[in-house]
Amino acid sequence: MKKAQKLLEVQDLCVSFPTRKGTIHPVRHLSFEMKEGEILGVVGESGCGKSLANLALMGLLPDNADLKARTLRFRGRDLLSLSNTERRKLRGKEMAMIFQDPMAALNPCLTIGRQIDEAIAVHLGGSKKERRERALELLDQMGLPAPAKRLGSYPHELSGGMCQRVMIAQAIASRPGLLIADEPTTALDATIQSQILDLLLRLREERKMGILFVSHDIGVVANISDRAQVMYAGEVVESGVTDEIIKLPIHPYTEALFKSLPGHQKQRQSTLYNLPGVVPNLLSRPTGCQFHPRCPHAGSLCEERDPERVEVLGLSYKCHLPLGEWT
């Protein structure tokens, strides 16, 4: 198999915020790689640092955030050494992002046409007519009915699914190599969700575009991604090829996420599994393994020592008591 070029290399990415009660670290030592055209799924509960990690990659962290990383490379370029302007020129052109709530992510005062046009104008330029044609073409590719009519519409006149298609259209306007999709289907209902997922898969096929797909729904991630990583309290606790993670989750947190999926339990009418507790408060993190207070298998070692990352056969996990017999 030919080795694909590295799209994104992240090593030891940390994001921290100073607060009145001390510094918090919502993202800790995040490391991963993505190949061109690959779909990497990121899964974890709300508050696991997924969105902040995305914003860090895009260079859109709030001003008071502190970003540190050993390596942060996009297509071989060191993102940390780029100036603000260089970074801005990369945004939307080579790495684009779509968001959770498409209705809120579009400007309510500007027409759809104007918003797509802006994205085209800033990176590709061209005459007004050319840009309009490009916008129509994009909307058509997104499967939006009557694109010419839609250009004059305002976001509130469109449904959530249509808004997300518009978001995707403006995100991929200049053929980015990486699309960061931050919970793109969470605010949509199930049928629209699968349409958007199909659309993303099609775009990946057609454009060989890498997609960093973030969701709290492990079912969705399992469906769409080639590889997946599970995040908990700002750290990756397990990562590997999606199919293998589905077959044999190693980390108890991954297992718990799977068990919480409706339809996962064998018998009907049995109660849905519910992982007790909440994600730790970032100001008072637990000692040892971050997951141990909620972990059904935790022992005294888990409470005392933070587990080392173990990497075996392309899998990696952070757990003292891994599940399954995979050796």
């Binding site: 859109l60 990369l90 684009a96 968001f99 400007n107 309510p108 027409t111 802006e118």
Partner: protein, 336 residues
């Protein structure tokens, strides 16, 4: 759009009825007898009193006086001033341009300084600039207007001699009235000197009247911008790689201005109805000064008529603000 105005009008009429009743009742509740004032200091006989009372129409029962007032008002006749014997509407519109000119300058002053100050304060949230602007606007908002006016007069007119103390224009100039706004009329006449004279006369009153709106606009712009800057669509705009300037103007400010329109409209409404204190201090021949004078003289038709016109204007301004609001906010427009 037609339905929109019909709806607005249907609420305007009961409001005006209420205002007319209130104005009518209030002038009569205030102590003081216009008949006695008209008869002069030496007073007069019983007969002269009755004659004057009849002439002023005050001999009629109250309900008939009121019905007469609104009946005539409906045809556009607000009666004649008991003092000058000129129609109230004529008196009003001869003074209104002075108030309008001052009001327009004051609101422009407030908007053109307040909005940029608010935007910068929001962008530099929690900075020294932010705190300074907000502190100043708090001071501006809480300062007594008459005191502020006197301080400015002492500083700029008396000590520095930069600005005139009172009036609209130097007595030297004779400006034919076209719009009634001296800044416009002097330019139409091509008289640049007169224009600058009018401008210098406007300076201090503008600052005095514009101070509170300026404070309000700056604070509102800041809080509206702060809210908008955290919206998802601003993040989207940044994620597209737009220049920060475009993000701020087309995505943030464009949306932040929507609630501001209401605020600016309300402020303009209150300015235009006559800044009583400021007009009195600067001897500005506008409707505020006129109304105060009428109250002193118990000029019933002028007071009740003037109040009615002012109320109609406020209602009209509010309607206009609602219309503008609907224009700039696409979510208020009907879906096509």
């Amino acid at each position: 759009m037609g339905g929109f105005f019909l709806r607005q009008l249907s609420t305007a009429i009961p409001t005006l009825m209420g205002v007319s009743l209130l104005a009518f009742a209030l002038v009569r509740l205030v102590p003081g007898d216009p008949v006695l004032l008209m008869l002069g200091e030496r007073g007069g006989s019983e007969e002269q009193y009755a004659q004057m009372e009849k002439k002023l129409g005050l001999h009629l029962p109250l309900y008939r006086q009121y019905l007469g007032f609104i009946g005539n008002a409906a045809t556009g006749d607000l009666g004649k001033s008991t003092l000058t014997q000129r129609p109230v509407t004529e008196e009003f519109f001869s003074r209104f341009p002075a108030t309008l000119e001052l009001g327009l300058c004051a609101i422009l002053f407030a908007v053109f300084i307040g909005i940029p100050a608010g935007v910068v304060a929001a962008m530099k949230h929690h900075s020294a600039f932010d705190y300074t602007i907000m502190g100043l606007s708090l001071v501006g908002h809480s300062m007594p207007i008459f005191w502020w006016a006197l301080i400015l007069i002492i500083a700029f007119s008396v000590n520095l001699g930069l600005t005139p103390v009172s009036g609209r224009i130097h007595i030297l100039y004779d400006i034919p009235s076209v719009s009634g706004l001296f800044l416009v009329d002097t330019l139409l006449q091509g008289n640049i000197e007169a224009f600058f004279s009018a401008l210098r006369h406007l300076l201090l009153p503008t600052v005095v009247i514009g101070t509170i709106p300026l404070a309000v606009v700056a604070r509102m712009t800041r809080s509206s911008m702060l809210e908008v800057l955290h919206k998802d669509y601003v993040r989207t705009a940044r994620a597209k790689g737009l220049e920060e300037r475009n993000v701020l103007i087309f995505h943030a400010l464009r949306n932040a201005l929507i609630p501001l329109i209401t605020v600016i409209g309300l402020q303009f409404g209150s300015i235009i109805t006559g800044a009583i204190l400021t007009e009195t201090i600067f001897s500005w021949p506008g409707i505020g000064k006129w109304m105060v004078h009428s109250v002193e003289q118990r000029d019933y038709p002028v007071i009740q008529g003037g109040v009615l016109i002012i109320a109609s204007m406020v209602i009209f301004i509010n309607m206009a603000v609602d219309a503008i609001y609907a224009l700039v906010n696409p979510q208020m427009k009907r879906s096509r």
